[in-house]
């Protein structure tokens, strides 16, 4: 077991399931997602019935119930695609860094996107969703590169601890910058604050539509990197020995992850821990083959986020708890559980 945290048996229970069972799990997950989607539209501060849903889908917004549904549909859609993006992005990051603790939140990638957006908003007067998305992706990429570089210096390369610490320190630094930019600007302070928490509450079909092309590109890149990730999991040397172009594979996969998570952060604000928790759960069910792991992470991520949003809407009626908070409250204990299970060698 290397100090660089190679994903091997002692850490994660790898169960080699026959192909048939993997398909079953995937279908099951899709089923759960479907149920949650419907529930998300039905449940909330107000209870609505199925006929209201059908009517609202048809475009009519008569009455509070139908209006409520009309608001929930884009919200649900956003939750689903955001969860999918974050889930897959987390799985890719864990594969690229061979680090069971990788997650866009922990690695400071979310905050890099946030800072870029905030700077764009405050100093360059950006206002369109598309411009935010581009800027967020750039910010995410820079932050990811930075954290990875800093975390890999020295003995042992990018061990889980060094990466997590580099990420935490970078996050702290970036957070200070965000505060420094926002604090004097009372005009944008309120808006930024609510976005910073990370939620799907302010969703509209507009912003969702604008982010969709970016996400599709991101998903595509990630899917294509799946085989590369399988090789990378064996370690750089072995992967190269098997004929894999290590640098390209890693670069492409990272690009996909960064695009996904940067684009989504621009719309929802930073949501942490989805990318951490989901891939672990997926690995327990369907193993480490990334060709299955990535799509499964996407589906499970979507389910998790939708579920979290539902909880957020029910738990604090008549108010709401934003999704970013729920995922942190669920995800952090899970993170701690993973840390406790690992045989972490003292540095």
């Amino acid at each position: 077991m290397t100090a660089s945290g190679t994903l091997t048996a002692p850490d994660v229970a790898i169960v080699r399931r026959p192909r048939r069972l993997r398909g079953v799990w995937l279908l099951g997950a899709l089923g759960v997602l479907g149920l949650l989607t419907v529930a998300s539209v039905m449940v909330g501060s107000r209870e609505v019935g199925l006929d209201d849903i059908v009517a609202a889908l048809g475009g009519s917004v008569d009455g509070f119930d139908e209006a409520a549904v009309a608001k929930r549909i884009p919200r649900t859609v956003l939750a689903v695609i955001a969860g999918a993006a974050l889930g897959m992005s987390g799985a890719v990051m864990q594969g690229v860094t061979r680090n069971p603790l990788a997650d866009p939140g922990i690695l400071g990638v979310n905050l890099g996107a946030s800072l870029a957006v905030v700077i764009g908003l405050a100093y360059f007067g950006l206002s369109s969703a598309t411009s935010f998305i581009w800027v967020a992706i750039a910010g995410a990429a820079v932050a990811a590169l930075f954290v990875y570089t800093v975390g890999s210096l020295g003995r042992g390369g990018a061990t889980p601890l060094k990466l997590a610490l580099a990420g935490a320190a970078t996050s702290a630094a970036l957070a200070s910058f965000v505060t420094a930019v926002v604090l004097p600007r009372n005009d944008i302070a309120g808006g930024v604050r609510s976005w910073q928490i990370g939620g799907v509450g302010g969703a509209s079909f507009d912003s969702t539509l604008q982010v969709l092309p970016f996400l599709l590109v991101g998903f595509a890149i990630c899917f294509l990197s799946a085989r590369g990730l399988n090789s990378l999991a064996l370690g750089d040397d072995l992967a190269a020995g098997l004929g894999e172009r290590v640098a390209i594979a890693r670069g492409a996969a990272s690009l996909g992850a960064v695009v996904l998570c940067g684009a989504i952060t621009a719309v929802t604000g930073p949501i942490a821990f989805v990318g951490l928790v989901v891939p672990h759960a997926c690995r327990l069910l369907i193993g480490v083959d990334h060709r299955w792991l990535l799509p499964f992470s996407a589906v499970l991520g979507a389910a998790l986020l939708t579920g979290a949003d539902i909880i957020g809407r029910i738990a604090a009626r008549p108010g709401e708890v934003d999704v970013g908070i729920i995922t942190a409250l669920i995800g952090a204990p899970f993170f701690i559980y993973i840390v406790r299970r690992q045989k972490v060698r003292a540095l």
Binding site: L153, G154, A166, A172, S176, G324, V339, V344, A346
Partner: protein
């Protein structure tokens, strides 16, 4: 060469004894040299603190000459100056120094104990706990100053206990503790964010400043608890400095040298957390002071010897200077936490780079 009593040696041959004496002299003199350097550095830091303290009292929107300032300190009533200097600047400067001392010594204690300069109380959840409790106390419960402090302190200690407990699996591994601390910090930060999001506007302002660390509105009521904490817990911590140094060699070696490792660790944690929590309760979590004071002190004092007091002094200096800059160096008035955050960030990253390159510990 040595004026001390002649050491009765069992060896009778001259050359080995002589050589040993020479070696002993070399060892002693290099030790004395290092001690002198330490003392010199501490003296310089102390002097700098006094100078900056004086400057913050004199310079501001109105300039008050030294005579006026001294008059106010002595309790005389000086026209104009008594309020500005006595009620506004003096408590602010005193609080800055005290809080800086607390963060400095608390931060380096954790970094030494966990053998990692990146293991700072702000990262492993203690500051997050104190902040979350304080935000909750201010926004949701609308409590007064003293009660907010009490909340923060209890929260800080509880978090430390939880993090320590969760990372205990037949002994504590520094790595695991740091990672768990990061997780807990994330949870608590989200709680804070939620509490703030529920805030009415005017509460929001104060709570926000609170969260980034600010000395605005400092008064004597805030100074007293920090002073008491420092007076009680400070000596406790300094008393453990030798045990802390021994702990750097690893738990096994330290135990073999006669250190009661577990007991010392508990005392040290309570004292350090207490200091940090008291300070956070007064001013909010002033970013990066706890993180940087130790590494900065280590660079200027050199290796060997306890870093506790030098780090405290560095911390005090950092807060004083940063607050002054935050008030007058830029167009907007920034709270001290933002200044330390922004100015500290590049240095922090540089430290991580250097640490990783050397693969080292504190």
């Amino acid at each position: 060469m040595n004026a001390s009593t002649v050491h009765a040696s069992t060896a009778t041959t001259d050359v080995p004894t002589q050589r040993r004496e020479i070696t002993a002299d070399t060892v002693a003199s290099s030790r004395r040299r290092r001690a002198t350097r330490r003392r010199a550095v501490m003296a310089v830091l102390g002097a700098l603190i006094v100078v900056c303290f004086a400057i913050t009292l004199m310079v501001g929107q109105t300039f008050y000459p030294p005579a006026d300032v001294i008059g106010v300190i002595l309790g005389h009533d000086v026209a104009g100056a008594t309020f500005t200097v006595g009620r506004l600047r003096l408590p602010r400067a005193v609080l800055a120094v005290l809080v800086g001392l607390c963060f400095g010594i608390g931060g380096v204690t954790f970094q030494t104990m966990l053998r990692n300069p990146l293991a700072s109380p702000d990262i492993i959840g203690i500051s997050s706990g104190a902040s979350a409790a304080a935000a909750f106390a201010i926004v949701t419960l609308s409590l007064g100053e003293a009660q907010v402090s009490a909340f923060a302190i209890v929260a800080g200690l509880v978090v430390a206990l939880v993090v320590y407990g969760l990372s205990f699996k037949s002994g504590v591994v520094g790595t695991r503790l740091i990672l768990i601390g990061i997780g807990i910090a994330a949870m608590l930060d989200s709680v804070t964010a939620y509490v703030l999001s529920q805030a009415a506007e005017w509460d929001l302002q104060e709570a926000t400043r609170w969260l980034t660390g600010s000395l605005n509105g400092s008064n004597w009521a805030q100074v007293v608890p920090v002073l008491v904490a420092l007076a009680v817990l400070g000596p406790v911590l300094v008393g453990q400095s030798r045990n802390l140094s021994m702990g750097q060699l690893g738990d096994d070696t330290a135990s073999a040298l006669g250190v009661r490792v577990e007991r010392s660790r508990i005392v040290v944690i309570i004292a350090a957390v207490g200091l940090i929590a008291f300070a956070t309760a007064a001013t909010g979590p002033i970013a990066f002071v706890a993180f940087l004071a130790g590494p900065i002190a280590s660079r200027i004092v050199g290796p060997g010897g306890s870093l506790l007091i030098p780090s405290a002094l560095v911390g005090a200096l950092l807060v004083l200077v940063a607050d002054f800059c935050g008030q007058f160096a830029f167009d907007t008035r920034f709270p001290v936490g933002v200044v330390t955050g922004v100015l500290g960030a590049p240095y922090l990253i540089y430290l991580i780079v250097r640490t990783n390159r050397a693969g080292g510990s504190l």
